[in-house]
Symmetry: C2
Subunit: 351 residues, 2 copies
């Protein structure tokens, strides 16, 4: 029942945790969190539970929603005074579950803690295949690319000749979605902030066009790039870009609502289309989705993503930051454009 390396076998373990102290207004800042230390013992484990050592955290924009505490009755709200919930990858240290052993590598719905107790029965625990690193499991083959895969292939697969518009296209979900649309035969337009990101979309992701929303008029560019309208809009951003897209959708257009990052730091909620009659007259479909709707197809997603990436057909950028103690500051980079690709926090276990 001991861990495989040095101090990790000690029991109880010293455990750092970042608690959410106050609900942020606007951009979350380190002051909204509190770093605490306590002890965690394998004696705290109940039957069916695992004590895991966290290795990597994914910084996902949607975590900002969990912090805001706006009840939507569909997703757990981050409680104040509790460790910040986060997608995580790590290793089993102690197991009271027959199917798991120390050393097993997993991804799960965790929290900003060195160690924590998780229960596989909740459905939020996945094994990491032997031929995959934890970084791969969290980055190129992880939550964001899988989300993109299901959004494109299940929610709005393209028909030949379709124009697919992707917002947040330089983000890890958006870039993957855009490239899959390209692979599946659509003409793809990416929307991103700044000329550098747009150049990356054109040159490296090989999109057909890119719109720099910080320096260009999205509506005008849409009109000139696709006079017959947008057939598919894969939306990570919401806000003004969503409004421009709705007004420029072709008849029977489909909008995949993956995220609404434009509003995550507002105290207000993310507004939908302001002209629903366009939705009626256009026979437009707007559909939200979660990766977890497609859990039984995760192997398919990982397999196809891996193949595309091996062939260089889908590129993925990853941005790993070291240091548990910087977690809140690193997370904020998601919203100030300072990350380049999937943003991961590598946990530096204290000795």
């Amino acid at each position: 029942m001991s861990g495989r390396q040095g101090n990790e076998g000690s029991d109880p373990v010293r455990n750092r945790q970042w608690l959410l102290k106050t609900r942020p207004h606007g951009l979350p800042s380190p002051g909204d969190f509190e770093l605490v230390e306590s002890e965690l013992s394998s004696r705290d484990l109940k039957d069916g539970e695992l004590l895991v050592r966290n290795r990597l955290f994914l910084c996902a924009p949607t975590m900002r929603n969990w912090m805001s505490g706006q009840a939507n009755s569909l997703f757990p709200v981050q409680p104040l005074g509790r460790p910040m919930m986060a997608p995580a990858a790590g290793e089993v240290v102690h197991s009271k579950h027959a199917a798991y052993r120390p050393g097993d590598r997993l991804t799960y719905f965790g929290s900003w803690s060195d160690y924590e107790i998780i229960a596989p029965a909740g459905g939020n625990v996945s094994r990491v295949a032997d031929d995959m690193s934890l970084t791969e499991a969290m980055g190129p083959l992880g939550l964001n690319p899988q989300t993109a895969y299901f959004g494109v292939t299940r929610v709005a697969p393209p028909k030949p000749g379709d124009v697919a518009l992707v917002s947040g296209a330089a983000g890890s979900t958006g870039a993957t979605a855009a490239q899959i649309y390209r692979l599946l035969g659509a003409r793809v337009i990416g929307v991103a902030g700044g000329s550098e990101k747009c150049e990356w979309l054109l040159k490296t992701c090989r999109l057909d066009a890119a719109i720099d929303y910080k320096n260009e008029n999205v509506r005008d560019r849409l009109k000139s790039l696709c006079p017959d309208g947008v057939n598919i809009f894969f939306d990570n951003v919401g806000g003004d870009i969503l409004q421009a897209a709705v007004d420029h959708m072709a008849r029977r257009g489909r909008i995949v609502v993956c995220g609404q990052i434009a509003s995550y730091n507002d105290d207000a909620t993310a507004e939908g289309p302001r002209n629903m009659m366009r939705v009626v007259y256009g026979s437009i479909r707007i559909e939200g989705f979660l990766r977890s709707d497609y859990l039984e197809h995760v192997c398919e997603a990982v397999g196809r993503l891996r193949e595309w990436m091996a062939r260089g057909e889908v590129v993925h950028r990853i941005d790993i930051r070291r240091g548990f103690s910087a977690a809140p500051a690193v997370f904020a980079d998601l919203f100030n454009g300072r990350n380049a690709g999937t943003l991961l926090i590598e946990v530096d276990i204290k000795s």
Copy 2:
């Protein structure tokens, strides 16, 4: 080539028309229209066109949108100074189209005119079957019930045990949709204004529950009627009822956007959901549609509606008003709740 009765054979014919003079603000009033008379001759017909005598007009709420001139680039805007566009039924008087003869009975996209010239090639002309009256073609088997049929069977068919919520449930589209949901096995809740309409929904349409939005709190009633949420929302109304429904949708719920009558008399457009993250976290689908998306299945719709109505399983109310000259005033009754069922205007041809 002459008509079958009396003066209709005369050529040219005297032709009354209601022109849209000004775009209404709020409820459209007779002052927004102008009654003019002119002559129309079969000599004005081009190849492929028909001169028709209008017999019945359908008052459809969506006509109010056409009047407002808000460009949505998907539906023709009613031009000022031109006869008001309206779904119509009538008879061919003269034909320059090989497939149509005088006396043929048709429904079409017409206008508030005694006579007019239409072109079947546009796709907006349908023949009325020999065993069907024009009133049946415009009322119980017409545009509104067909719209309901396609919305229910194509856009969001119910699964066993689904809770289906229908707004504008006492209107001819809503009532048909609600009854079809009931027939297909859903538990159906109708929302309507006033206790009389709600009683009609419960007793005559045999819905499971009715919410009187004028006298009840829609959110509270939804919570108590369906604690596990709404699976399907068939929306004719939009506005506050749409917001309440979005907030109360079950996971993977589907919203059929048929109309947004709450906002038709506003100068503003109809707002969509104000919390798109609920759409994401709930994997909710919102889909607009038009009857015309399903033209190739109209026979199926008419056949099934007729069968259900013959068996008394779907009831339909019809409210026929006589008099071309009252058309604008009759139309206004759609929005002040003074109609009871499908509102038709019967054209009284001048002698």
